[in-house]
Amino acid sequence: MVTATRTEQKMVTGSINGQEVTVPAGTVILEAARMAGIEVPNLCFQPLMRAWGSCRICTVEILGKRGGLIESCATPLGDGMEVLTHSPGVMEARQFILQMYLIDHALDCPTCDKSGECYLQDNTYLHNIHANPYRRPKLAQAYEHFSELIDYKWDRCIMCNRCTRVCDEMIGVTAIESAFRSLESTIAPAYGEDLTDTMCTSCGMCIAVCPVGALTDRHFGLHPWELDTTETICGFCDVGCTINVEANRGIVRRSTNLWERGTNHGYLCERGKWGQEQVQHPGRLFYPTLRRREGPTGVFAYETTWDEAIDQIAESLAHYQGEQFAFLASPDNTNEETYVAQLFTRAVMASPNIDRSMSGAQANVAEATVRGLGVDVSNTNSMQELFSDVKAGLVVGPDLGATAPVASYWFYHSQIYREAQYVVISHDDYPLGWRSPLFLKPRPGTTATLLNGIAREILSQGWASPAASSDSLPAFRASLERFDNDHVSEVTGISSENIRAAARLYATAGTKPNTENQYPASLIYQSVAHAGIDATGQSPYGDPDEITAACINLAIITGNIGRPGGGIASPRGSANFQGATDMGAHPALLPGGLAASSPEARLRFEAAWMPQWGEKATTSNGFVPVRSLPAQKGLSVRELPDAIEAGRIKAMIIGNTIGGRYEPLDARLMAALEKVEYLVVTDAYAETPLGNLAHAVLPMAMSMEKDGTFTAFDRTVQRLRAAVPPMGEALGGIEIFARLARRMGYTMAYRNPAQVMDEIAKLVPGYGGVTYARLERDGLNVPTASYADAGTPILDAAHLLTPQLVSARSMP
């Protein structure tokens, strides 16, 4: 449990209900009591947010001369303090307060969405309020529509300001605030505007934190007791938030929050809160669809059964065994599915051409990361360090509040409670920039130049870490020769003072060096993988490759690699991008990052995979069992368009991403795909640009519909659980490729994803310690070598990384 007040390490000892409690100084009594296992009832207290003290239900009694009744959520436990949480005086006070609340509370519990999980209801029962001596006519008011998702009912509101606090402190947008005074006081968006016209991100956190039913989800109309809950992982970005999916009658009704659980501590964003509406979208693909081209223009598509689809796909793909086949695995799919997909490509189709299906910017970031760090990791550190170690940081790229929203919440949190300072370099106007000491908007295309300018400033001012000096440093220093402050300022349009200030803030966090650690830890979050990129590779940020390399260089020269609170993170977008890389959806790397060119690595996998082949293939043409894995490097997603144009790739399977529903992959690749002789697409949605090109489209289960594991961007492997059966006849990827492989003569006898994970744990070095049993309660940071290995939250040179300064390209 992380609290606002736990920065000091001095400990105090008090007694709560006669029980000795020792907590860090500054811990409020309520938190201290929770640590001791004593629950103090409350309405307005929300973990991770500032104390408000408006509800007064958390009143406790402090004994002694200067004691009395006091609110425990805002009073720190003092040394020698004696606290009673349930004394008769306290109970009487709480009962009185609750009776006061109940005078004007609507008491329409039967039709209130919150009924059953309402804090006011719970407290009323808990304090045995069965009659209210205070009465007056209820002041009923109709629902106010804040937006098409959020409703507000004034007569249920207890004005605890949890919603406005979360909106301000976590989301950073302050879209709603409390307005007016006394009996007229209300929660309202500014000027009563519709929330969609304000800064509101529609994250629904106000609904989630509301202790009563004042703020409600307009799309939800059930009671909590009617719902079955499943704890799972959100499948819409790679932060890896834990969500609680509540379903009934086979339909997900809402996603709720599990406070203090998971990497997100229960907080969610718009995609997590309303993700089920994407999963249960009427545009989902329900049945396998085959498409026949008849004549030059006529295309005839028809829905069919799985058996027929698998039959036809197997017979067609069998013509293309070897290097003329390519696979683009969707990074939205689970680790197990990606593993099976690359197994299918390598061991069944005997092709080395497998890559993640990703945009140009994502591919750029991935390549630059490999150059700089040696492996493609989205985050060298854990996101949780924002709560403990981060002192300063650099946030580069598109609005972090939109690309990795829950990560951005912790930035606000560390700004408010840990006084961390950030330099934001972005073209998007967003609150993190406004709230940071430096918000830099370089001219279009000059972000990398600015970062290199900052690097040069750090080196020339002597703020670099002594630990950073390596063989590559002189060359790097030389390559920065032309990035002097004035020149960079001229090119980027950022004043030279600001460049120096940014360099100082990132390298030193505004402090003087100390002997131990030179400077406090600083991290870098760069989200340029999300930057829109057009056919010519242009984006407002410039080349993502260069920006990524510049960010990694900065982290290396300041000694922030392999250090708590340091590191470099690059959220990539798709939920399991990191996992897809780890599972070998990579043209040159087998699962676990083992080079396909290495005979030992191939032998390791051949020994496990090849025995599954039968004597001969069961398709009707020249398809043969594979006896060894391809050794050469396959084609990456960026090399594919040319290879297809040249006729080297004739058949493909592409796993479409969630984002691919509207946006085609990449203009060049989409144009080239027309020339592919046989294209199979696994897709969750019907009529997508990619699916419309395919000869066969197979319906794929989405994240709330299947079991498996996701690897979040900070390498946390977490358990994905099925909450509802898949829509229509959609299947999970394991089953699809297992059926296809079986039809072609290769036995994939996986009965469930856990079996696949067992095989992964046996074969893939970094996942050696991953089992479903260990993931049951919490995630696990890979690499983890064995079941005894607790995981590696921080990567450094001893763990995977080979940090390498990459010389900056010449100045534009």
């Binding site: 039967p110 969405d113 106010e144 009912k153 109309g221």
Partner: protein, 169 residues
């Protein structure tokens, strides 16, 4: 001989009294006001609107889970009854649903003719239940007596007499 006459005593006594037999189905029984027939849905007689606020408590409390409520969020922001299904084959006529209803929208009707030729007929939908409920008197019109106790009007009927132990033997 005497025993035979004695045996016919009741027969001869009934001979001059009106017949107790109800000529069902031409003649229907009068059910006690609190008789628990098929649960039904009532509408507001003035506006014709359903009284149900779709809170789902009836479905929740139903011991046999014979009630199924589908709720749709309404335009106003609160909830609306989408579909309401009563599986009468499972209903044990305990009346808990009508007791728990906060707005008296579901009440036990006097409907007892529930035999059907196939099981599908035992599934009642919202409109069917509303048409049964529409025939019931409303307690605010009938006065509290209609539901609070046995009214005299009913007590005067043959069924009432029979059940209350007055009149007929």
């Amino acid at each position: 001989m005497f025993d035979e006459v004695k045996g016919f005593k009741v027969t001869f006594m009934r001979l001059f009294k009106p017949a107790v037999t109800i000529m069902y189905p031409e003649e229907k029984r009068h059910m006690a006001p609190r008789y628990r027939g098929l649960p039904s849905l009532r509408t507001d007689p003035d506006t014709g609107e359903a009284l149900c606020v779709a809170c789902g408590l009836c479905a929740r409390i139903c011991p046999t889970s014979c009630l199924e409520m589908h709720v749709v969020p309404s335009e106003e922001g609160d909830r609306e009854l989408g579909e309401f299904i009563l599986r009468a084959g499972r209903c044990m006529f305990c009346g808990l649903c009508s007791q728990v209803c906060p707005v008296d929208a579901i009440t036990m009707s006097h409907e007892y003719e529930l035999s059907v030729m196939d099981r599908d007929g035992l599934i009642y939908t919202k409109t069917e239940l509303a048409s049964i409920g529409g025939q019931l008197p409303n307690w605010w019109e009938a006065g509290s007596g209609a539901f609070a106790g046995a009214p005299d009007a009913w007590a005067g009927t043959r069924d009432g007499k029979a059940l209350l132990g007055k009149g007929v033997d």
